[in-house]
């Protein structure tokens, strides 16, 4: 079993093989290559679960010190045999994983926390140049294993879903090929050992994102969106390159655990770490859609919906968050997270969280609501990392992947039926037509809103507890309040989204009598059920109460306890925060309910009248309605959100577009005047000068011998004169 942890490279290798197979032979296969992809991802999922079990086993019985750095290098030939072997094992461990969870952990109690659990490392020299070895390898610890499982699950569900959703597309095979490539790159990213490998995988997921956003490249908006995504990410990549280079020279190695260890032990100067962290933060901002570099993410919704679910909600966009989590030693020291009360990462996260949430209110495209919601949730994660709540951030990443993928796939299911993404124009009343989709969508939304006991509540609550400074963390009070407000926003806009989509009367295409909407087929609905189920239960992975065998299992297994990881504190469950965040999830839902449902039926004045009559104490409609519709909702929906959106579309996007325009203008100017004028002019000028001189001298060339002779003698006379008289 533990050998599986040393051979996790099989997962990306398998997906890479799948990519090549689909690319070259996909079109000749009966299901156009989809079967290869699904099969490979399925195997990957089994292997990932198997490695999960292996990791749990390892953290329960950590190896002794001398065996700690088991960097056994296994030759490549073993791969094939190992793969089959691992497959069977993976299948077997499926039940074992579930059953073993309680049994094994009950056995070991207490004192286990202090035990270092060394990661499983393997390493090979990829190439060497100038005395520097570029290595590749796998770096498997709780975080990687968790990511492997998340990526495989979501990828498998998206594969299945896609067979229906993009069925009949003219580039069906290409689509699956790129899904495979993406999965391979993402799996490689999360298990990267060296920074070079990390950058490679990072860029490859970017490429797949580009290719899949631009999947329908015939329309210009799609290719524009793809370009924007790639270029914005490239801007961040500058930070990534520079940051990684600084870290390489500072730590003298490409090895991620070594870099973290060097940073954590104070071997690297703080200033270098700060610069490196700031550079890497730029990469995080672009990849994970943080404020100022987030504009590509909503545009990326131009891609097929399953792609949005996989890449732009659950996996690729969290790569930035993953990077911070992975290089936490660097960020911890660089931004002094443990001691400061404010730092760039937390600020960026918090601002993104509010900003994204506000923007979600004014969208009429269902996917854009979800996209801004993703931006906002990524802000949560960044903020959590910024305030030192590592486990909370990673846990939120974990739960968010499930319910947000579920929401995206659900929106795709609706759109598949009505052939539009516009909630205001073409939806409404879908509850009647698509009860299954509706049910899963609501479950995922509630999970996202953070209503206990669904997944989002537990992870969000932990983040807020972290920001409050409980459990020995340094407090970040501003972040705490921003987080709480952001949670409220989430609940409200998701309610609005559900109302517009599923309630009310059908509008537009949804009301088309010839094409009445219908529930989607099983290949779409089953993944939705699975994701909704995970959205319900995933939160219990880190349940803060109960006996040792249930309590904080996620933290126990995922959080590294090793030299490369800083010693962080853990937020404790704080009742008032839990109540506040629950309240701020439920109250906006209630408010939104009142606004949309009631307001829809009675109109504003009637509602005011009802309020005057005084209904219930809790629902003091007049006051709350006024407060909500007049001040909060209209305020946020109207001026604030519109202003932010305006700011987003005009200022930020303007800067993005303006930069391109200016660059082109500068380029044109430089080319026309400097290059063609000055630089080339000098060259052509020298040519022209020699030509002119030649033309002048040509006058002497009459071709008449006697004139030549005369010149000759004349010259001789002049020279003779000079010789005689001058010298």
């Amino acid at each position: 079993m533990s050998s599986l942890l040393q051979h996790v490279w099989i997962l990306p290798a398998l997906m890479g093989l799948s990519f090549l197979t689909i690319l070259f032979f996909g079109k000749k296969l009966p299901y156009k290559g989809a079967e290869i992809g699904i099969f490979s991802v399925g195997v990957c999922l089994l292997l990932a679960l198997g490695s999960g079990v292996a990791w749990i086993d390892r953290s329960n019985n950590p190896p002794e010190e001398h065996g700690a750095t088991a960097t056994a290098e296994h030759a490549g030939e073993e791969g094939a045999a190992e793969e089959e072997h691992a497959e069977e094992e993976g299948a077997a461990t499926d039940e074992e994983g579930a059953a073993g969870e309680e049994g094994e952990h009950a056995a070991e109690e207490g004192g286990e926390e202090e035990h270092a659990v060394p990661p499983v490392l393997t390493e090979k020299t990829w190439f060497s140049s100038g005395g520097v070895d570029f290595t590749v390898g796998t770096f498997v610890d709780g975080l990687s294993v968790m990511m492997l499982i998340v990526v495989s699950i979501i990828s498998l569900l998206v594969h299945i879903y896609s067979t229906d959703y993009v069925g009949g597309d003219r580039r069906y095979t290409h689509y699956f090929a790129f899904l495979s490539l993406f999965t391979a790159s993402m799996l490689m990213l999360v298990m990267s050992r060296s920074t070079v490998q990390f950058i490679t995988a990072w860029e490859l997921v970017g490429l797949c994102s580009f290719a899949l956003i631009g999947h329908w490249w015939e329309e210009k908006p799609n290719s524009d969106a793809a370009l924007k995504a790639f270029l914005t990410n490239r801007v961040g990549d500058v930070g990534l390159l520079v940051g990684m280079i600084i870290l390489f020279f500072a730590a003298g190695s490409f090895d991620i655990p070594a870099i973290n260890e060097a940073a954590a032990t104070g071997e690297i100067r703080h200033f270098l770490l700060l610069v490196a962290s700031c550079c890497l933060l730029a990469a995080v901002m672009s990849k994970s859609g943080q404020f100022v570099l987030h504009t590509w993410l909503p545009d990326a919704m131009a891609g097929p919906t399953p792609v949005s679910a996989l890449i732009h909600a659950a996996t690729m966009v969290v790569a930035g968050i993953f990077m911070v989590a992975r290089f936490y030693g660097v960020f911890w020291e660089g931004f002094s997270i443990g001691t400061a009360h404010v730092n760039p990462l937390a600020v960026v996260g918090a601002v993104t969280l509010l900003f994204g949430g506000l923007l979600a209110f004014v969208q009429s495209d269902i996917k854009k609501v979800l996209a801004y919601s993703t931006v906002s949730q990524l802000g949560y994660m960044a903020m959590a990392l910024g305030v030192g709540a590592w486990t909370a951030a990673v846990f939120h990443l974990f739960t968010h992947a499930f319910f947000k993928a579920g929401l995206f796939l659900g929106s795709g299911s609706v759109a598949h039926s009505v052939h539009s993404f516009d909630m205001k124009q073409d939806m409404g009343g879908m509850k009647r037509f698509m009860p299954k989709t509706f049910a899963t969508f609501v479950v995922c939304s509630v999970a996202l809103a953070g209503v206990p006991p669904l997944a989002g509540f537990w992870s969000k609550d932990e983040i807020l507890a972290g920001a409050s400074g409980s459990g020995g963390l340094s407090g970040y009070p501003v972040m705490l309040w921003m987080g709480i407000v952001g949670g409220g926003l989430t609940a409200a806009y998701m309610t609005r989204c559900i109302y517009l989509t599923f309630f009310g009367e059908p509008r537009g295409k949804a009301a088309d009598p010839h094409h009445a909407p219908h529930e989607s087929g099983p290949r779409i609905v089953v993944p939705l059920y699975i994701l909704a189920g995970l959205a319900i239960v995933a939160g219990f992975a880190n349940f803060p109460f109960g006996p040792e065998s249930i309590k904080l299992r996620f933290e126990h297994y995922v959080e590294p306890v090793a030299g490369y990881f800083p010693e962080i504190s853990h937020p404790t469950f704080t009742l008032w925060i839990a109540v506040a965040s629950t309240g701020l999830a439920l109250v906006p839902i209630g408010l939104a309910y009142l606004y949309y449902w009631q307001g829809r039926f009675h109109g504003l004045t009637e509602r005011v009248g009802l309020a005057r009559a005084g209904h219930t104490l809790l629902v003091n409609k007049y006051y709350l309605d006024h407060l909500y519709t007049g001040v909060i909702a209209n305020g946020t929906k109207g001026p604030v959100a519109r202003a932010t959106y305006w700011f987003n579309q005009n200022v930020l996007d303007g800067i993005v577009n303006g930069t391109a325009t200016v660059a082109v203008a500068v380029a044109n100017w430089t080319y026309r005047y400097i290059d063609q004028g000055v630089v080339d002019g000098t060259i052509n000028g020298s040519g022209a000068a020699s030509n002119g001189i030649g033309q002048a001298l040509r006058q002497f060339q009459t071709g008449r011998v006697q004139q030549y002779g005369a010149l000759l003698f004349g010259g001789a006379v002049v020279l003779a004169g000079i010789f005689v008289f001058a010298i």
Binding site: E218, S223, L227, F249, I683
Partner: protein, 513 residues
């Protein structure tokens, strides 16, 4: 057998093309098939000879010159027929050996107007002698001769088979390069006369002996000599601000000419830097390195801006060469073995990728009779395979990890963080950041090109036209390049393994290496 290859392999590779060219002179002009066969056979034989040399090459001792031939040539001026190969020249030799047959295969039914395969192929073969000769010469005069031999066939290729403005481009190319060569020759001669062997006191043209012989040079003189060579090689690279011949030459040259120009000829300049001035005049190199670095970085940004402004696809690719060679020169200017390796990788990668891009551009031109970006669009619909190849090459060119281009760019940027001792670190770090920003521009212009040519739907003017997709000769010529791009991207050690030793020995003078 090994001894035979060791003795004769390089010489065979060097003169076989000339033999082929002479044979072709005696074949009637109308007999095109015979010409093609002879040319192809010759170039494949050259490739075989080079592969044989590579096979007997001792990779554990790549820093030493191998397969050396050192015979008397022109005793009056102390010039010798001294050739050899080490880790620096071997990858470039193999690149040359690979590109030429591919160009000939591509030519099979793509001869540019006014056809005349006989003359065209003879010129390509002569060109090959010049290129191979430059990479193997270990004598300054021999080097100079081959360096100049390259000029003339290319001049005729552009001038006879080029586009509308071919005479202008050809003359500009020729004069510009000859101008630089003049300074270079003066520098060579100055080096010869001013240096002397510390033991015997004799003057020498032998490149391996010169580092010792030149130690006694006054620093001002050395600086000037380096300057002369800088002009000669810098123009060939081309470095900003000596690059203006390049876009014209590339745009006007026939596809085959552009490919050879981009894939091999530009490398003569960068190779020259690594082979001659830097190891021979290390102190002057330290003085010049910051200048080179700054010019290289300007070239990166400037070339990228130039690309953004272009409306012609071929011209855009040509400008991208300026940017890419900027990375190469940045790597060289760090004077570290890491940077040199990066530069060599960049040279090989650029040769494969940009060569490929020019091939694609040529094929587009042949089908659409225009390279005006505005008129193109929807290539992926009109000729899907061609479009995918274009997309692939663009991705490789913008430096996607996993493809060859990245391993030229990233290590060069990395090397700039810590240049050799004695160089201004702050300046190089600024250059590093600027070069990193250059990657954004690279993505910008290439993706924009891709969007405007390959994506979208075809323009109305092409309605009803049918375009044939990639044909057999094109596949034959392109597949090795594509495989090379992927192979080097996945396993860059194919290059680094060879170059590392050679680079170390060239840089012994710099302790920081």
């Amino acid at each position: 057998m090994e001894a035979f290859i060791d003795d004769w392999g390089l010489t065979a590779a060097l003169f076989l093309p000339l033999v082929g060219a002479v044979i072709m002179m005696f074949v009637r002009k109308e007999d095109e098939a015979a010409h093609k066969q002879i040319a192809l056979l010759t170039s494949v034989a050259v490739l075989a000879a080079l592969v044989a040399v590579a096979a007997v090459f001792n990779y554990n001792d790549a820093g030493r010159l191998q397969s050396v031939i050192d015979k008397e040539w022109i005793p009056v001026i102390d010039s010798r027929y001294h050739i050899g190969v080490d880790g620096i020249s071997l990858p470039l030799l193999l690149l040359t050996g690979l590109i030429v047959p591919l160009v000939i295969i591509y030519s099979w039914n793509h001869f540019p107007e006014p056809r005349n395969p006989k003359a065209f192929l003879i010129l390509i073969l002569i060109l090959q002698t010049g290129m191979v000769g430059t990479f193997v010469a270990q004598d300054l005069i021999l080097f100079f001769v081959f360096f100049e031999v390259v000029l003339l066939p290319m001049y005729f290729m552009i001038g006879v088979w080029g586009g509308e403005n071919r005479m202008y481009a050809a003359i500009k190319f020729f004069l510009f390069t000859a101008f630089g060569s003049a300074f270079m020759l003066v520098a060579f001669l100055a080096l010869y006369f001013l240096s002397s062997d510390p033991v015997t006191g004799a003057h020498t043209f032998q490149i391996p002996d010169l580092p010792d012989a030149a130690t006694g040079l006054a620093s001002g003189t050395a600086w000037l000599i380096f300057g002369g060579m800088f002009l000669g090689f810098g123009i060939k690279v081309p470095m900003f601000p000596f690059h203006t011949w390049l876009p014209d030459a590339h745009t006007q040259a026939p596809t085959q000419g552009s490919v050879i120009l981009a894939a091999v000829m530009l490398k003569l300049g960068t190779y020259g830097f690594m082979r001659i001035p830097i190891p021979i005049l290390p102190d002057a190199a330290r003085d010049w390195a910051p200048i080179i670095a700054v010019l290289a970085v300007i070239g990166i940004i400037y070339g990228a801006l130039g690309c953004l402004a272009q409306t012609d696809m071929k011209r855009l690719i040509a400008f991208s060469s300026v940017a890419h060679m900027g990375y190469t020169m940045l790597g060289i200017s760090t004077l570290t073995s890491f940077g040199f390796n990066a530069a060599l990788m960049g040279m090989v990668a650029h040769g494969l990728i940009t060569g490929m891009l020019f091939f694609v551009a040529g094929s587009i031109k042949e089908r659409f009779h225009t390279l005006e970006i505005k008129r193109l669009g929807g290539l992926l619909l009109q000729a899907p395979r061609l479009g995918w190849i274009l997309a692939f090459c663009s991705m490789a060119s913008l430096g996607l990890p996993g493809l060859a281009g990245f391993w030229g760019e990233f290590p060069a940027i990395l090397a700039a963080y810590q240049p050799a001792e004695g160089l201004p670190v702050e300046l190089f770090r600024v250059c590093m950041v600027v070069a990193a920003i250059g990657t954004v521009f690279a993505a910008g212009y290439l993706l924009w090109l891709l969007q405007r040519t390959a994506f979208g739907t075809p323009k109305e003017e092409w309605e009803g036209h049918h375009f044939h997709d990639v044909e057999t000769p094109e596949w034959l010529a392109w597949t090795p390049l594509i495989i090379g791009i992927v192979a080097l991207g996945i396993y860059p050690n194919f290059v680094f393994d060879i170059t590392d030793g050679g680079v170390q020995s060239v840089l012994t003078a710099f302790s920081g290496g």
